[in-house]
């Protein structure tokens, strides 16, 4: 049996929430060094070393090349797909001087301005965003009445 086989206790609905990655022990195992690398950035001297040569710093961590690439490209969704968790990743985007809102926006397909506007309008609606069946029926993430003014900028 492959080491990568993931066996979870069946939990109703665990994989049914659209656009959402739940961080469980299996994903924590996959992303262990991504997350531990992020933790190292809580020390100012490590932040300086990372900024001086990102690739060299990342080579010190036994993660996959795919994970290193995602970090170098600041592909936040990819980091999450590969076992990263947003609270760990926050150490990386804080090092970059970026906010939770900036990073969240990059994962939604909205510009940061559109995302901020959606939040000011009351946030993304729950209607038609509850299940994968919702998105299969409607074609993707719903905004409802809080939609940003697409294309008006």
């Amino acid at each position: 049996m492959s080491n990568d086989t993931v066996r979870r206790e069946p939990i109703e609905g665990f994989d049914d929430i659209p656009g959402t990655t739940l961080f469980d022990a299996q994903r924590a195992r996959q992303g262990y060094y991504v997350n531990q690398f992020c933790m190292s950035l809580m020390k100012a001297e490590n932040r300086a070393e990372f900024k001086a040569d990102e690739r060299k710093y990342l080579e010190k961590w036994p993660m996959t090349e795919e994970q290193r690439e995602a970090i170098l490209k600041r592909d936040w969704q990819r980091m999450i797909d590969l076992g990263g968790n947003i609270y760990y990743l926050s150490k990386l985007f804080s090092t970059d001087g970026k906010s939770f809102q900036y990073v969240a926006a990059t994962m939604t397909g909205l510009t940061q301005e559109q995302y901020a506007e959606m939040m000011l309008n009351g946030g993304r609606t729950i209607e038609n965003n509850r299940s994968k069946a919702d998105w299969a029926r409607t074609g993707g993430p719903a905004f409802g009445k809080n939609a940003p003014a697409f294309g008006k900028k």
Binding site: P18, Q77, F100, M107, G109, L120, G123, N129
Partner: protein, 279 residues
């Protein structure tokens, strides 16, 4: 004897700390948020608690991926603010209460809650943002604070019912302490928010309101909400609300609602705030 007299439930959005620390509290975006705590600041100044039991989650600051305690209790004499990637917040060091915390740890473990005991710990925005909202910027925090970190970062977090029962056990443990102390329990985090993926930005005011109503009542519905419902209805990070059940469980069954505040948006989050006193 010591007695838990009230609970303060409040979101702990990190951007609140950043706004406060950078002098933006009067900006149009932030002013309504900080104003929502004018009543609360006065209320807690009048109440003068001796000790706060502060239930929060560490956001991968004190605990890295190597150790994930489900329930922990801070027994140290002090807890410095954590460096979360941009330097520590310029807030006072938290002064603990090692004697009481050690008593609580012992009592909880004998009451079948297997607490992790923490004797050295930096505390992140999850703990310091609620203090900023409730106390502003004093030279030192006005009372002793015992941190109670709960894992809500890695699935599975404890169930809401387990959190409620921890609250019940905390109440028993506090009441077994002979010193006359006024104790307030803080439940922090939430309300609806999702910080990741294509569904980021989710807010569910209706569900959040139902949750607040339940806590202000007998909380029996809130106790039974399963993990998946929190995530589906309130976003992947909405699960933090289970911590409000610890603070609710620590009160008497009958409570009175003293104050409620709800504001959208606070960065990515629906900011919720609820003060309850024993009826």
């Amino acid at each position: 004897m010591a007695k838990i007299v009230a609970s303060v439930n409040v979101s702990h959005v990190p951007a609140i700390g950043a706004a406060w620390d950078n002098g933006k509290a009067n900006d149009p975006y932030w002013k309504p948020i900080f104003s929502g705590f004018d009543f609360s600041k006065k209320w807690i100044a009048d109440l003068k608690p001796d000790v706060i039991l502060l239930v929060y989650n560490d956001h991968a600051s004190a605990f890295d991926a190597s150790i994930i305690p489900t329930f922990a209790i801070g027994c140290a004499a002090q807890f410095p603010p954590a460096d979360e990637g941009w330097g520590p917040r310029p807030v006072p060091t938290v002064i603990g209460y090692p004697e009481l915390a050690s008593h609580l740890a012992q009592s909880l473990i004998l009451d079948e809650f297997d607490m992790t005991i923490i004797n050295e710990m930096d505390v992140d925005h999850g703990l310091t943002v609620p203090l900023t909202l409730m106390f502003g910027q004093p030279k030192e925090w006005p009372c002793r604070i015992i941190p109670l970190p709960v894992n809500v970062v890695q699935f599975p977090p404890p169930t809401g019912n387990r959190c409620w029962n921890l609250g019940r056990a905390l109440k028993r443990a506090v009441e077994a302490w002979p010193e006359d102390l006024r104790v307030v329990v803080f439940g922090t985090g939430g309300m609806s928010h999702q910080l990741q993926g294509m569904r980021a930005g989710l807010i569910n005011r209706e569900w959040d309101t139902k949750f607040l109503d339940s806590l202000a009542g007998d909380a029996q519905w809130a106790r039974q909400v399963p993990f998946i419902e929190y995530v589906r209805e309130t976003g992947s990070e909405g699960i933090e609300m289970v911590m409000w059940l610890v603070s609710r469980g620590a009160l008497e069954h009958k409570v009175k609602e003293v104050y409620r505040f709800y504001h959208v948006p606070c960065s990515n989050t629906a900011l919720g705030h609820l003060i309850l006193e024993n009826a």
